[in-house]
Subunit: 331 residues, 3 copies
């Protein structure tokens, strides 16, 4: 397995991750999964360091996951939540970040509804010549790298629990189904999965497929094993993994989609449709799930098919790995 010395200060997206970097994260996360199975569940790796969670877009589950990851590395955490913040007093986002830097933050986990905000903050920090690390926890419809990595960790761990690695996906077929156009999760997953030798098949309503991809049509993209479908069936055919995406209900009202029921009829994953896939197919969803929309409710709770709760568990180990890799050598 090709792991590498970690040199990346910020984790803003998976688009430029090297295979060796993917493997380093996977292997580090596997080590932390072992730590989490011990009695104390903590390591002193980041003692004295401060992780600031700057969530300009609210999210309890992702913030909780990062918070727990940080504490299990013995870091201190500071939480900034939009709404109760001085943003309402007219401060810019960059100034908020600089304030937390000056307070002593060693790492900042940033979520914002606009794409590129974590990048802008990272660029500013680089220019200031400071050693703080920025971790993108979701920026608009752009990327959500820790979600992409935890999905990768979840499926590779299923194949080899001890040594999860990119190479395990060679020859696997992975379907990504749903609102790909608006999904930062899909984007991050496309980058990680196409770095392996897996075949990635995207399926969703034409209105919801990325415009970029739509121009190319139903053909493989150059250099990436990626295929595009406007119907569900060809994507599911013999799939090893089906990644469903959260349907943003607010898109419904803007008439991009007719109704939740109609969406479920065309693109919802059901037991019947699963028969198209490999017999041991597994389903993923980044959560929170709209029950009975993206996945039928009984399937979602069926441990034979659903990896949803493993994804959440993987999240803590993967986020520990990211914070650890970015934070080591800081002291």
């Amino acid at each position: 397995m090709a792991t590498t010395v970690w040199t990346r200060r910020h984790v803003l997206g998976l688009a430029d991750f090297t295979p060796a970097e993917f493997d380093t994260v996977l292997q580090t996360a596997a080590s932390f999964r072992e730590v989490l199975s011990t009695r104390t569940k903590k390591v002193p790796a980041l003692q004295g360091q401060v992780v600031a969670n700057l969530f300009f877009e609210p999210s309890t589950r992702t913030r909780s996951s990062f918070e727990l990851a940080a504490r299990r590395l013995s870091a201190d955490t500071l939480n900034f939540a939009a709404g109760t913040s001085s943003l309402t007093k007219g401060e810019t986002i960059l100034d908020t970040a600089k304030t937390y830097l000056a307070m002593g933050a060693d790492m900042m986990v940033i979520r914002h509804r606009e794409a590129g905000v974590p990048h802008a903050i990272a660029a500013e920090m680089n220019q200031l010549g400071v050693r703080v690390s920025i971790l993108n926890a979701g920026d608009g419809q752009h990327e959500h790298p820790s979600q992409g990595l935890l999905d990768l960790f979840t499926i590779t761990s299923l194949i080899d629990f001890e040594y999860p690695r990119l190479g395990l996906l060679a020859g696997k077929k992975i379907a990504i189904v749903g609102d790909i156009l608006h999904s930062r999760v899909a984007r991050s997953n496309i980058w990680s999965l196409t770095s392996s030798k897996a075949e990635v098949h995207l399926a969703g309503p034409p209105t919801l497929l990325p415009k970029l991809l739509a121009q190319i049509g139903d053909s493989s993209l150059p250099n990436r094993n990626i295929f595009l479908h406007w119907e569900l069936e060809p994507a599911l055919k013999d799939a090893d993994f089906v990644m469903t995406l959260r349907l943003q209900k607010e898109r419904m009202t803007s008439h991009l989609l007719p109704s939740l029921r109609e969406y479920h009829q065309h693109f919802g994953i059901t037991r019947d449709r699963l028969k198209l896939c490999k017999p041991d197919v597994k389903i993923l969803h980044p959560g929170p799930v709209n029950r009975g929309v993206e996945v039928s409710s009984d399937l979602m709770d069926d441990p034979e098919f659903s990896l949803i709760s493993q994804q959440v568990t993987s999240g803590v180990a993967v986020r520990m790995a990211l914070l650890y890799l970015m934070g080591s050598g800081k002291n």
Copy 2:
């Protein structure tokens, strides 16, 4: 004193608590009260464990009390607050609980405005075969067991500080006054107090008395030393303890009660009315108090009569006891 080996995974209400279980909680809380009087105030009992506070109904004081209790047992805490949550994104409550389970929560402290939510979550967890513990921190108008236990701890500690126990209440008369119909605090207290040999007298406006009890009228309930009054005076007569309940102002507007002033005139506890009680009578209130409504303002601050601040202090020790008893043996 009859203490017992603790076998209860969840604490959802006091209705089925055995006398031995009450005594075990009281005695464990007394031990933690001693810990709280030491310099460090902490014990490593729950090191590595995660207590998730899932407050679907907001409450700063109860959440703070649980949070402090958890930290003093060296547990890590995660806070979920409705409003900033993905519930607004359509996730079900059960899915939220399962997410925190998958993240690694060992215990969940749950408050919800609907009765039965903690029970539904506990049932789901049992069915999943996982070892997580659910603690009801108030469900609708149903139960609030930690409040019932801290009230019990407060009054039994007053009689014997070293060995608080149910048996100390034999022959005591305890009045519960106010909006019993809508009070989960009253319900939990009725279960704990009638497990002792105390006499429990309920008094409140007819509109606010439980319909169940109203059918029975002013007579003792079978097997429980409980008495019902539509007027305050017979309940207060020779009482050792007077438990007042918080008046939900929102009930006023729905015309269940005429006015705050009228409520105070009929059911407010004043110095004058206290003369009906035993000379060393004590007053309790679960807080937050509407000053001058349930209790006259000066009486509330009089340490000779008021146990209100002791109740809050008891809360931390009792919640440490509950978390400890449910959490031990998990590692």
Copy 3:
């Protein structure tokens, strides 16, 4: 340097601080700045103690600063935020404070939009005869002592990093510019700076200058080296430090000021205006800054002139010093 044994239980304002007390805070903060430069960044000074942050007026940055300061002293923190609180249930502020006292709070950091609230709480605590300490984190337009102290620490550290002390300001000219009438930061700074041998010059629109001072006119106040100006230039002339104040935009709408642009034209600090000052002049701002209003945007980011980020950094060390001084001897 005259440091002193600390005897002050509460820190409510700087109006009655003695020079020796200022120097004790400055010297203690300098020690903690050293701690913050070590690997672990923590000291066990307040182990077992509880710092309750009661922010009745929301503020993420100040709360985060106090929270980090408390944790680095190994204290536990509890956060109360208005809005999600039982205040909406009608509880008085004093009762909220007494609840946190009863829960075990050793110190309370209090912010409220009404002047005098922390003082009222401190008076109540004194009357109860309890050892809890109250720290004013901003009360209306009255005082914000930790901000005044961190400003003092920032400018004295610039003159002598090892031994910051009041005496270093002798002969220095300090301008305070802006909405002095509504500024608790200005008030606290006036008390600290006029305790030194510095000359303090206030400048702001006539409508925004304190009415008290306006009665006296453009002359020095008796016993305090303080001067009043209705125009910026005489205040800036040969100044060593320029303290700008946050302009409360909500004042704009109440017609106390014509427009942000007009304010900037008359009282905004620009490179051009800075030429009036000493060549090595430094600018301060308590944050959050309205970019381009109080200070021109480029100047704010220029490390040659701006002390804004040092102020934030100083904040953690100064708040550690305050919590430490008030909290020592409590165990």
